[in-house]
Symmetry: C2
Subunit: 285 residues, 2 copies
């Protein structure tokens, strides 16, 4: 067993679709706390390393929401793609949370960035965790190779966009469900960025998908699904800002407005197979 | 709108796979309390009434576990089958629960029978609710017809077997995941039956699938999946008792022991499509 594998404590295991859903706890160097993440290893991983889709979840979620509710494991098993699902923030009693106990900041709301302001900067480094530490760990300890795709929902859709746009060459494909497209101009983003990055909005631009698309050196085709009955559509998510940014930058975007769908996992489940096939086309090419 | 439809208060709605997941609250006459149940209406229900699979959940569950975690809605939408998912017991402050606050009796643990002993007999009449009141309600108020199938998990697997075996002609097909096959001879069943039915074991036989199979007048082919890594297999579920009862009675049984699978919804999700196709063959014939 490798040193990386020894650093993983298995905290759950379920056989599923001929493969394995596994949850691990480990000490995260990036986040200076213990973290739990989940992987789904398809049956093909018994014979060889497989490519992986990294899924970033939304506000209040843990690793469990996507694995339990998205219905993604069936097709992942068929395609031979691993799923890697981190938590949504650093956790633990030593990690500061929202001063008012709100659910849209702090625990469960790391926004997949590297905080620069205290008291957040010590722990809230989810970008480093998701982009570097977690892949390094799973690729060293599990039958998962370095062919990576990334997707996510809401805050995690923002995270997926930003992780890929900031790290050209690191992901082979990219998609999002109902992403927070323009966090520097919506209430959730403004609250989080003010705390994590400070009041100077110039520092916010490098964590905003619409700003990053303008200067992207890589043009990964972007698949985005957005429900039209999503309560957060106009105020928080702002897909039209993403559409405009992509149009100006000539960034390839397929933005699908799904009539009548909301912000829930019932929406995600309805279209996850399309996203898995989008990623499979890049990962298995 | 019919009187039945007026009695339903919609408490949730999500578009899913082109159809609708809906949750309703209503006053139950059988249970003398307010109840919440969920339905999934496939796209075909916009044009005509569709047949329904009734799903009975296990201990501690509500209507939500199956809808969120089983991954059943995708194929139900394709096949044109509605899903009707009741809660697992009467609920509310006026409904007595386990005297010791345990999770295996009382709230969330109605065992799909009609209790005869006080203080349970007034509310705990889940058999009447599931077999009569709920179908009558949904068939009068929603685009759901009287072609019914039934399935369930664990305590709900027991419920599905007993509901079908006690009511020949009422269901066109029957299946179960990890059912409590012989409740009169396992700790969960003994505890529940002692409270709900009293100490006289003769009264227990009419709520035990293995006993009912011996005298069944209808021979619905039975599909049962059971994980071999299920922690409750030997002590609570006892599929070999069901196998023996079916062998003696020459009742058609397909009992599949699924290697390495546990008692969770990861197990159910892995095989739910087979069950949906089993029911579709009977419902859509």
């Amino acid at each position: 067993m490798s040193e990386a594998a020894r650093s993983l404590e298995e905290v759950g295991v379920n056989r599923c679709f001929g493969g394995w859903h596994r949850r691990y706890r480990h000490r995260s160097a990036s986040l200076s706390c213990d973290m739990v993440f989940a992987v789904y290893l398809p049956p093909q991983a018994e014979r060889r390393p497989v490519p992986a889709l990294y899924w970033l979840s939304g506000l209040t979620c843990s690793d469990e929401n996507f694995m339990q509710k998205a219905g993604a494991l069936r097709l992942a098993a068929e395609l031979g793609i691993a799923l890697v699902v981190p938590d949504t923030s650093p956790r633990g009693v030593e990690v500061p949370g929202d001063p008012d106990g709100a659910w849209d900041f702090g625990h469960g709301a790391g926004f997949y960035l590297n905080a620069t302001r205290e008291p957040w900067a010590r722990h809230y480094r989810m970008h480093d965790y998701v982009v570097h530490e977690l892949p390094q760990l799973v690729e060293a300890s599990l039958p998962i190779d370095a062919c990576r795709a990334i997707s996510g929902h809401s805050m995690g859709g923002h995270g997926a966009l930003v992780c890929a746009l900031r790290n050209p060459g690191r992901y082979r494909s990219l998609s999002a469900f109902a992403p927070i497209c323009h966090p520097l101009a919506c209430p959730w983003g403004e609250k989080a960025f003010t705390h994590y990055l400070g009041a100077d909005r110039a520092a916010w631009m490098e964590w905003d998908a619409c700003e990053l698309i303008a200067m992207a050196s890589e043009r990964l085709p972007l698949l985005v699904d957005q429900g039209t009955a999503d309560d957060f559509l106009a105020t928080q998510l702002r897909p039209e800002a993403l559409r405009q940014a992509c149009a100006v930058a000539r960034h390839p975007l397929t933005l699908r407005l799904q009539t009548g769908y909301d912000h829930s996992y019932y929406f995600i489940a309805s279209f996850i197979d399309d996203h898995l096939r989008h990623h499979a086309a890049a990962l298995l090419a």
